[in-house]
């Protein structure tokens, strides 16, 4: 078990392409860190540099206290789960899991190997499949075999490269909790690459958001959600994604496509001299005004709009409201959409309403939101003008305290279980 420290890591391909542009990241011992970003952001390259399958062009990589830049993968003592599992098809499940142990010649007797493999198999509920070949296993079982191979190593850290993207949605949810449980129990440092923001939010102690080889923000999931540093992070985290609208400063108000928001001192000082800004509001921060009591209603702003399409999902009701964006921010928003692997579709507001709402397709609805939860971005740099470093720090510290507590609880449970056996 060890901490992993990345310092100004650069990946330059022979053709001059910079895949990773100087990433620095401290991964603490026992921490679960997610590398997330849209395709081509360099997250997988970064992981492969950590494990040693890609050369590091520049910068310094430490595992524990040792600089490992020039060490071969086998000398780094890491375990990796590949996207396509990479099981050895000619070996049984047992031999697949035993493979790393057998490579360390003479270190383990056959009896020890059998014990370790069976223990790992029991952890992953693979006992009944030990004598089968990988070809005869289901996707989820193969995934667990790959994890078993990682567990028996007792490696310094686990690395996962999009391990769930080949599974169907239901299994993905199950395996996600399985991975989280395993990590908590073993307390092993884990780096996990994904393009799926749901996985990033649910699994990570901390999440590192990457864009075009550059680190955008490293924070707890909650920190990213509430205090994103820029437009990119705000748009990437959250599902459905945050709504972005042009906002024009007119006298005492900020004019949005649907409603004028009164400018208070905080907003005014943050916006400064800018005339046009980009305003972001999360879908879940809108409400059906008809369902609110007057006290709450008076704290926010209400507006009427034509609902184009609604989607009912049981617990939530999504309403879509098309609007015309202004030419000044269209360029920035289109670029953002491209960065997020979007299709550049029509501009529309997505609103997540309570399932009690009676708003349906084609209705004229009265919607409400609280301007205090609204984010304001610089239209050129994309910087979040409402970013509050103290608040962000407080969220991350709380998160870190929670992580330590839950890790300790899991370890204590494990010890108790081991003692009672």
């Amino acid at each position: 078990m060890a901490a992993i420290t990345l310092k100004d890591i650069v990946k330059r391909y022979p053709d001059g392409f910079l895949a990773v542009k100087g990433v620095s990241l401290d991964i603490k011992d026992g921490e679960f860190v997610i590398l997330v970003g849209p395709s081509g952001c360099g997250k997988s390259t970064l992981l492969r540099m950590i494990v040693g399958l890609e050369d590091i062009s520049d910068g310094e990589l430490r595992i524990g206290d040792v600089v490992v830049n020039d060490k071969a993968p086998r000398d780094r003592h890491l375990a990796m789960v590949f996207q396509n599992y990479a099981l050895y098809p000619h070996l049984t499940v047992f031999e697949n899991i035993a493979f790393p142990l057998r490579l360390q010649k003479g270190q383990f007797s056959d009896e020890e190997i059998r014990e370790k493999v069976e223990h790992a198999a029991a952890t992953l509920e693979l006992q009944d499949h030990l004598q089968r070949k990988p070809a005869n296993l289901s996707g989820g079982q193969r995934q667990r075999v790959a994890m078993g191979r990682a567990i028996v190593r007792e490696a310094n850290a686990f690395l996962f490269d999009e391990p769930l993207s080949n599974l169907d949605a239901k299994l993905r949810g199950q395996m996600r909790t399985e991975i989280a449980r395993m990590q908590r129990r073993l307390g092993t440092t884990t780096v996990y690459v994904t393009h799926d923001q749901t996985e990033a939010m649910t699994l990570g102690d901390r999440v590192a958001v990457l864009r075009k080889g550059e680190l955008q923000q490293v924070s707890s999931p909650r920190g990213l959600y509430e205090q994103p540093v820029n437009l990119f992070v705000a748009g990437f985290i959250g599902s459905p994604p945050m709504n972005f609208m042009p906002g024009e400063v007119t006298g005492d108000a900020l004019r949005l496509p649907f409603v004028d928001v009164p400018l208070d001192d905080r907003l005014r000082s943050r916006i400064g001299e800018r005339r046009i800004v980009i305003v972001g509001v999360r879908p879940e921060h809108f409400s059906d005004a008809g369902l609110l009591d007057d006290a709450k209603r008076s704290r926010g702003v209400s507006f009427e709009s034509e609902v184009d399409v609604t989607e009912w999902l049981g617990a939530d009701l999504y309403a879509y409201i098309p609007f015309e964006t202004s030419a000044e921010v269209a360029g920035t928003l289109e670029e953002l959409d491209r960065d997020l692997d979007g299709e550049g579709m029509r501009t529309q507001l997505v609103v997540a309403l309570d399932d009690a709402s009676r708003i349906r397709d084609g209705d004229t609805a009265t919607l409400w939101f609280d301007p205090a939860r609204m984010l304001v971005f610089d239209p050129e740099s994309g910087e979040n003008l409402m970013f509050d470093p103290d608040e962000a720090k407080a969220i991350d510290e709380q998160n870190e305290a929670d992580r330590r507590a839950s890790l300790e609880r899991a370890q204590a449970r494990e010890k108790a279980a081991a003692g009672s056996r």
Binding site: V51, G52, L53, A72, P73, R74, H77, L78, A79, M80, F82, Q83, N84, Y85, A86, L87, Y88, P89, H90, F99, P100, L103, Q104, K133, P134, A135, N136, L137, G139, R142, R149, R153, N166
Partner: protein, 280 residues
């Protein structure tokens, strides 16, 4: 696919039978001839009137023994050595071609292809002179070297195609699991490549086994002469008798190992061993 109509099916059967007859008739004829008595060769029936093993006795224990048995030994020895060397060299070459990016990779592949289509007959005369000067004429090595030039290119091509199918992640996984590059190759790649190596070895063996031009040109005695060349030196029991029967018997004997090899390795040549390695 929808089921074939009756008309179509009839046509397929007819064409299949025609092809089978066309390709198997000569083999059947040789087989039948090899069991005929030398005196009955020109009777004009397809099957022998009386089945006899005279011809086989002749080549194994009789007058043709001194011609055929050394030739058989030469053929087996030379072909096996040429195959083994070609497969080992081609395995490393093909692995490098499939996995590594190095300058001159395309050059190696195109050269290999060029060598394999070079007309053998144009090489024989210069080789004949060269081999006589440096003392390789009529030796095993003198045949193994030209056979390598025939077997290596095709081995490199087939093995390179095979290695490309093996997911690279397996090797990387092995390396992360603690294997050296050599261990990763031996424990993760070689077991998966085995069917491809068998297939390649088989093809290389046939090429060496079937060669006639080098065999007849670069040998002069039973020291190194292989079977296909030796067949041309068979004579009848008297000068008025044709050696057809003995030649047929020898031809059957050299065909049998080939047929057995194909039947044996047919199962090895199954693809799908890599199934389940990566996502299904």
């Amino acid at each position: 696919m929808k089921a074939l109509s009756t008309r179509m099916r009839v046509w397929w059967v007819v064409i299949t039978i025609a092809v089978l007859v066309w390709s198997l008739l000569p083999v059947a004829a040789i087989f039948a001839t090899s069991f005929k008595l030398p005196s009955q060769l020109d009777v004009g029936t397809f099957l022998p009137k009386t089945w006899s093993t005279t011809n086989y006795e002749q080549i194994f224990t009789g007058s043709a023994k001194d011609l055929f048995l050394p030739a058989l030994r030469n053929s087996i020895g030379i072909s096996l050595i040429a195959t083994a060397v070609a497969v080992v060299l081609a395995t490393f070459a093909a692995y490098a071609i499939a996995r590594l990016d190095f300058p001159g990779k395309r050059l190696i592949l195109t050269t290999a292809l060029g060598v394999s289509i070079f007309p053998v007959i144009s090489l024989v005369t210069p080789l004949f002179n060269l081999w006589r000067n440096i003392g390789l004429y009529d030796t095993w090595l003198g045949l193994i070297i030209p056979y390598l030039s025939l077997t290596l290119p095709i081995s490199i091509w087939t093995l390179a195609a095979f290695f490309r199918q093996i997911p690279w992640e397996l090797e990387q996984a092995a390396q992360v699991d603690g294997a050296t590059p050599w261990q990763a190759f031996r424990k993760a790649v070689v077991p998966l490549a085995a069917p491809g190596v068998f297939t390649t070895a088989l093809i290389a063996f046939f090429i060496a086994w079937n060669d006639f031009v080098y065999g007849i040109s670069l040998t002069s005695t039973s020291r190194a002469r292989p079977v296909p060349a030796a067949l041309a030196f068979f004579t009848g029991a008297s000068q008025f008798e044709e050696p057809t029967g003995a030649i047929s018997a020898a031809a059957v004997v050299v065909t049998v190992p080939v047929v057995i090899l194909v039947l044996l390795f047919q199962r090895q040549i199954v693809s799908g061993l890599t199934q389940g390695a990566v996502k299904g």
